[in-house]
Symmetry: C2
Subunit: 86 residues, 2 copies
Amino acid sequence: MKHQWQERGRPARLERRYEFDSYQALRDFLDQAAELSEREGLYPDMGFGRDYVNMTIHSDESSGVLEPLQHRLAEALDRLITEQID
Amino acid sequence: MKHQWQERGRPARLERRYEFDSYQALRDFLDQAAELSEREGLYPDMGFGRDYVNMTIHSDESSGVLEPLQHRLAEALDRLITEQID
């Protein structure tokens, strides 16, 4: 997993690509990411194909900047991957 | 559901947007779409957020054109939605 989160602007957002060896592992990750989204009330844009997921966490529309909430979600998503690999 | 499949070129692909009233309905659709992908061995690009899924079905890389296989997948995806609504 060589990819990391990138912070981008206009609009402020966090982006990261995840890659997977199997479609099943990818689907498990997406399921858990969706559950996490619902719990946190934050819905990143997720784009995926056979072996990758591109994640974009947007800033809150009202503030326009990335808050700790968004960074915590990014970290929680990374933990899903670590737990899957372990 | 006012959106329909659009056929686009360079590279040849089918695109459609689906919209959902609930995140649960969206997740159910994605699950079924992923199962369909595995059965057909065709992996569209799917991008989604809280209430939408953008689907892109690419043409086979070797032929570069959309074959009946891709159109059948598009129809099968639409049927998932119809079944969900019924």
